[in-house]
């Protein structure tokens, strides 16, 4: 039975509307939260985990959400705590950076948050300017479960060479993004 989108027998009155509202808000902040977690953790797997934990906390605390306030900012605040919790669970040797450093990274400026969409749009444009081979390399590296090592092995290239190639592509993309957002970047 296709009952997608409709209330079910066990739903309380108003519950489906609440879920619909939550889902809509959640959909608008997923990328923002993931990018924020990546900013602090630098690992897609860790950021993924933080995103999921954050989503659960957001649902549990959704009653505290003030309609009209910025949902993404609230979500990032919760994500920050989830990042710290994840770091605490890791052995000290696996924590690459100091707490002070993470604190420094955790302070996005309003301007940098506003720039996210501009940089994302520029990235789409810039990806289109890559050669087919470079795009293929990026796609292989960033596909789910992709890693630099697995890409190197599948292409028969050295890990070092693959890392160099990816670094070169990232630098080219950064330069392209910079050119395309230059008017909007802070001086």
């Amino acid at each position: 039975m296709d009952n997608v989108g409709g209330p079910t027998e066990s739903s309380k009155p108003g519950e489906s509307a609440k879920i619909e509202q939550f889902a809509q808000l959640l959909g608008t902040c997923q990328r923002q939260v993931f990018l924020y977690a990546m900013r602090l953790l630098h690992s897609a797997a860790d950021a993924e985990e933080v995103l999921q934990e954050t989503n659960l906390v957001l649902w549990r605390k959704f009653g505290q959400y003030q309609p009209g306030s910025e949902f993404g900012r609230w979500a990032c605040g919760i994500a920050h705590y989830e990042v710290l919790k994840l770091r605490e669970k890791k052995p000290r040797a696996e924590r690459l950076f100091s707490d002070q450093f993470i604190d420094m990274l955790a302070t996005p400026t309003q301007r940098s948050t506003e720039m996210l969409d501009a940089r994302r749009d520029a990235l789409q444009h810039c990806l289109g300017k890559l050669s087919a081979a470079d795009r293929q390399l990026v796609a292989a590296r960033y596909q789910p479960q992709g890693s630099t090592r697995s890409v190197a092995e599948s292409l028969g290239r050295s890990v070092q060479g693959t890392r160099k190639a990816l670094h070169r592509i990232r630098l080219a993309l950064m330069a392209c993004i910079q050119r395309n957002t230059a008017r909007e970047e802070p001086a």
């Binding site: 420094m104 081979a133 596909q143």
Partner: protein
């Protein structure tokens, strides 16, 4: 953000290691130190990590590979599963729904419609890595090579100097230059000369569709076979060359030993092979319906084949070799090699006593430092990387300047190796490699990159820049030589350029007999910097410089080409 600025070389590499999951704790500590050192470094780091995050989120395609992204694509999600344990799940975008699944399941809602920043569909379209054919050969050396075709971007030897694996069935289309391929365990070697189209069949044979090649095959690898549209050439332990013309006609010439040559026939037909001995050559006509294929003798030596490429390494071509040649030149008057263990040695003028010192631009350092031990073009040299601030690069940074005045001779040449890091500020960027300036008008902007890296010159502050077609590619090394002949209130300028990173073995004339208004000013010599209208330090070079040589003569093209050859080495032809 300065994506490729040299001051971020180390920062960039460490950040890349972090994003690749390859960073060590010691490297992480170093990275933390670098990032916290300046706001520019922090901005660079965050932009790099953000790019990495965006690509991770989008599955690498960012939407451009298929359809443009819409921020609010509608994804319908059927919810029926119990909660998935959150710990250590595989990171796939579809899993991002898992938490929502749990939420909905907990509230007994079986389904919902979610407006979602859709990326799931795109990720599904990323093709799985194809089955990979075996590696049967390696690309081991190229000279001035430009590749075309689907594998072109994977044939850059500068990214993997130890050799590039070539797989069975791989097509190579060499549009320019020379390329050496080692088959199997390295026994048989083929030198491909552009334009050529060649397919690696397996470890013992290849198909030359067009162009020419020379094969060197030791006795133990006898049987190595080159196919062409018209012929099959089987080696018997020798050195031979094959050329395929547009008509499909093939020529085979044997230098050492012998081969057998047979015309290509239809299925089931086995034409008798012809033996071709050393010093002999044959032509095999293109196959034609109803016409018997023929193998006819022709005069040997009528066609030039490249028989060997120079051995790699500093003994045949290197910056160190250039340095030796330059040092012996009788017209050399100043020579900055940037070699040595101390700053005093690195900034020493090896010929004229015009030693250099670090100077800070008129608006300050911009938070950076000059790198006196930057990586040079090859292992035989080190370079100096001036620092260019960002933003406001034209007036912030650190460069070098001579401690005494430089008096430009009536005729002189400035030769150097340069690496332009790019210009994040784009138009309006003035990045000066070598210069003098006396006042607002009298100047000698001898080697300059403006805007996005265009090579220009200027002798009068109020005159227009000279023009050239050369725009330096960020991050790549160039050999540049500019000659200046002073006339009556004007200077005639010529500039020659070769991209070393891409192995360009022939100099390009970038500026030809352009007459610039003004004559070179006498002043302290700026290296990696210029001077503004008030003769304050300005316009720092973005990138690295090496082997700056000044001669009191206009060197001819032959001499300059020899200097380039000293760096890259030269191939030898069949008259060897």
């Amino acid at each position: 953000m300065t994506a490729a600025a040299p001051q971020f070389d180390e920062l960039g590499l460490l950040t890349a290691a972090l994003c690749d999951g390859e960073i060590t704790p010691a490297e992480a500590a170093r990275l933390e130190h670098l990032v916290t050192r300046s706001e520019a470094a922090q901005r660079y780091f965050l932009h790099y990590v953000q790019l990495h995050a965006e690509l991770s989120w989008e599955g690498g395609l960012g939407g451009s590979a298929t359809t443009p992204l819409s921020r609010e694509q509608e994804t319908r999600v059927t919810v029926a599963a119990p909660r998935v344990p959150a710990r250590r799940r595989v990171a796939t975008p579809r899993r991002r729904f898992a938490a929502l699944v749990a939420v909905a399941a907990a509230t007994a809602v079986l389904a919902l419609t979610l407006r979602w920043a859709g990326h799931d569909r795109r990720v599904a379209q990323i093709p799985a890595p194809p089955a990979v054919p075996p590696v049967v050969a390696h690309l081991v050396q190229t000279i001035d090579a430009r590749w075309e075709g689907p594998s072109a971007d994977r044939l850059d030897l500068s990214a993997r100097p130890e050799g590039i694996a070539l797989r069975a069935g791989q097509e190579l289309r060499l549009a320019r230059g020379l390329a050496e391929i080692a088959f199997g365990s390295g026994a048989a070697k083929v030198i491909l000369a552009a334009p050529a189209s060649f397919q690696i069949s397996d470890a013992e044979q290849g198909f030359l569709r067009s162009g020419s090649l020379t094969a060197t095959v030791p006795h133990e690898a006898a049987g190595f076979t080159i196919h062409t549209p018209s012929a099959r050439v089987v080696d018997l332990g020798t050195e031979f060359a094959v050329a395929v013309e547009k008509t499909g006609q093939s020529e085979v010439q044997v230098f050492v030993g012998s081969v057998t040559v047979a015309p290509q026939m239809g299925h089931g037909q086995q034409p008798a092979p012809h033996a071709v001995l050393a010093g002999q050559a044959v032509r095999v006509a293109a196959p034609a319906p109803g016409k018997a294929a023929t193998v006819e003798p022709i005069a040997a030596g009528g066609r030039r084949f490249v028989r060997s490429l120079p051995a790699r390494g500093p003994t045949t071509g290197s910056v160190a070799r250039l340095r030796q040649i330059v040092d012996r030149h009788p017209n050399l008057i100043h020579h900055y090699t940037f070699e040595g263990a101390t700053l005093e040695e690195k900034y020493h003028d090896g010929r004229g006593g015009l030693d250099l010192s670090e100077v800070v631009m008129f608006d300050g350092r911009g938070g950076g430092t000059l790198n006196p031990a930057a990586q040079g073009f090859d292992e035989s040299t080190s370079a100096v990387a001036s620092y260019r601030g960002y933003p406001g690069g034209n007036s912030t940074g650190v460069g070098l300047q001579s401690q005494g005045p430089f008096i430009p001779p009536p005729k002189f040449t400035i030769e150097l190796l340069l690496n332009f890091a790019g210009s994040p500020e784009g138009n309006g960027t003035i990045s000066v490699a070598v210069s003098t300036r006396d006042d607002d008008r009298n100047c000698g902007f001898f080697v300059v990159a403006v805007d996005h890296g265009q090579l220009v010159h200027l002798m009068d502050g109020l005159a227009p820049w000279t023009e050239s077609e050369i725009e330096f590619i960020p991050g790549e090394w160039y050999y540049v030589a500019s000659t200046f002949a002073v006339g009556e209130g004007t200077t005639t300028i010529n500039s020659y350029v070769a991209n070393l990173t891409r192995g360009q073995s022939k100099l390009t004339c970038a500026v030809k007999d352009q007459v610039a208004r003004g004559v070179p000013a006498a002043s302290r010599l700026g290296i990696g910097k210029g001077f503004n209208a008030t003769v304050a330090h300005a316009y720092p070079w973005a990138g690295a410089l090496d082997e700056v040589a000044v001669y009191n003569a206009v060197l001819d093209l032959t001499t300059l080409q020899e200097h380039l050859d000293a760096i890259l080495g030269r191939p030898t032809f069949n008259e060897k």
